[in-house]
Amino acid sequence: MLLKDLFRKQRKYATIPSPEAKKEIPEGIMQKCPRCGTIMITKELEKNLKVCKSCGYHYSMTAPERIRSIVDEGRFFEYDEDMVSEDPLGFPEYKKKIKADMDKSGLKEAVITGEGTIGGYPTVIGVMDSRFRMGSMGSVVGEKIARAAGRAVDKQYPFILFSASGGARMQEGVLSLMQMAKTSAALEKMHRNGLLFVSVLTNPTTGGVSASFSSLGDINLAEPGALIGFAGRRVIEQTVRQKLPDDFQTAEFLLKHGQLDRVVPRHELRDTLIKILEFHAYGRETQ
């Protein structure tokens, strides 16, 4: 394991491939902002980190796009890239849905984990992708995140995780639920070892993901307008039988209620993360 790691580390970080880029072009060279209706050329939008130029609406980023926007020169070494889901419960339609999402997204699961440098700081990075089963957490997502936290402990690196998830994955039943405990336990070990974990909550982060690792950052950041919460809005409305405020369960709502450290616009995110990494690198041996 160690030898293999050393060998792999000496390889240059590979530039992250972008299979989805080809697929997006035929879908339309224009994009209409769902909030203000402004139409932008897709290429321009991507150049602007998928933020609407008129109203600042943050479109969802794919995991490869996110990684390219955060790591130095887009260079990233992926962990566990071949791990895929089984169908442990024999759940109706599950295998078919996994296959369809693989084909659609070019991903193997709802999270990509790996390492790269950010502002020169070696960092373990995890990025969820809501195109794959709504970013839901089953065994693979839980295992990859737990292993990434384990690598952070082994290498004494900080861990930054971008969440985008509808919660635990129903089709793996209680095994999905238990991934909440597995990931949180892995973070407990990081915590005990005095290592930095930064959670960046992006749209949407709800249910079992919101109620496990994504709320456990030493610093919890969120993107503007991101939907973040435990229970679904409709379930709450049915329970309390009252109209909920418009900003309910947004990043701004959470900030107001003391549940977040900062809401950070996407254009400032990389610099903010570098600053946080710099604060926590002080006095540590550089590697």
């Binding site: 039943g173 336990a185 709320s215």
Partner: protein, 322 residues
């Protein structure tokens, strides 16, 4: 149905009524029909075996939700002695949907915590039917930290439909409260035994469920989502909860097979509500049996043991790149 019988128990209920009637009749008339009665009783025993030996997931859910099913406070009062309830999270309030405190287990002080659904209507409303708010989870955390400090084993009773879905719960950080418990429980240096006694409803159940051992009553269920919720999402029809209950694999036998539950605790015929004292005895026996080996572990071994348990849960595979 009367006497707390559930719909699928109807044939058995009717047969038992018949036997009771016949016994009364023969006594009044002083006639001997003991052969007939014996035959009917044998038939009832067979029927009982047939019904309770082949319960579907949905039938088990009905038993787990039975209005007379014993609650956490019953178990605490009958399994332990000297229970002293402790209140509040020291931050916001005291959530009666979770109870906790210190008690003695065969003379040994332990910290006991559990969801409490309440018994009569007034009590149930006061306890929000066992659906906790963040302050409930934070009270549980405070009591567990106290146990950790003083080296007391922790026993958790899990019985909730889930965390309360409400505006204030979100404002006060329901997600953070649950997440923090998961992380902190993973790191405590004392033995933790968790027992699903009724409904194990998703994250709201798991928030006091990160133990060295997870035990589960025979007819309890533990699920990532309620069968009704799953049916609504899958088939846009909450009425298909029966199918969802099967598909989700939520029974004690399922969880044992999936490697999540360590031991299934038997229930009296028909469920815990048929003989609550017997149920307490079964649970106590299981707690003692599981606690003993944990008491022989060092604090570091206990933490390692718990980490290993959860690290091993899950199913995945790797594909060989071509």
């Amino acid at each position: 149905m009367k006497n707390g019988y559930l719909p699928f128990e109807k044939p058995l209920a009717e047969l038992r009524d018949k036997i009771t009637e016949l016994k009364k009749f023969t006594q009044e008339k002083s006639i001997d029909m003991s052969d007939e009665i014996a035959t009917l009783e044998a038939k009832a025993a067979r029927l009982e075996e047939e019904i309770y030996g082949n319960l579907t997931a949905w039938q088990k859910v009905q038993i787990a939700r039975h209005a007379s099913r014993p609650t956490t406070l019953h178990y605490i009062r009958t399994i332990f002695t000297d229970f002293m309830e402790l209140h509040g999270d020291r931050l916001y309030g005291d959530d009666p949907a979770i109870v906790g405190g210190i008690a003695k287990l065969d003379g040994r002080p332990v910290t006991v915590i559990g969801h409490e659904r309440g018994t009569d209507t007034k009590d149930k409303i006061a306890r929000n039917f066992g659906l906790p708010h963040p302050e409930g989870y934070r009270k549980a955390l405070r009591l567990m930290q106290q146990a950790d400090k003083f080296g007391r084993p922790i026993i958790c009773f899990i019985d909730t439909q889930g965390a309360h879905p409400g505006v204030e719960a979100e404002e006060r950080g329901q997600s953070e409260a649950i997440a923090r418990n998961l992380r902190e429980m993973a790191g405590f240096k004392v033995p933790i035994i968790c027992i699903v006694t009724g409904e194990g409803g998703s994250g709201g159940a798991l928030a006091i469920g990160v133990g060295n051992r997870l035990l589960m009553l025979e007819h309890a269920y533990y699920s990532v989502i309620s069968p009704e919720g799953a049916a609504a999402i899958l088939w846009r029809d909450a009425g298909k909860a029966q199918e969802a209950a099967e598909a989700l694999k939520i029974t004690s036998a399922d969880l044992k097979a999936l490697g999540v539950v360590d031991q299934v605790i038997p229930e009296p015929k028909g469920g815990a509500h048929r003989d609550p004292m017997q149920q307490s005895a079964y649970i106590k026996e299981a707690i003692l049996e599981n606690l003993q080996p944990l008491l022989n572990m060092t604090p570091e071994e206990l933490v390692e043991d718990r980490h290993r348990k959860f690290a091993e849960i899950g199913r995945y595979t790797t594909i060989v790149p071509t």
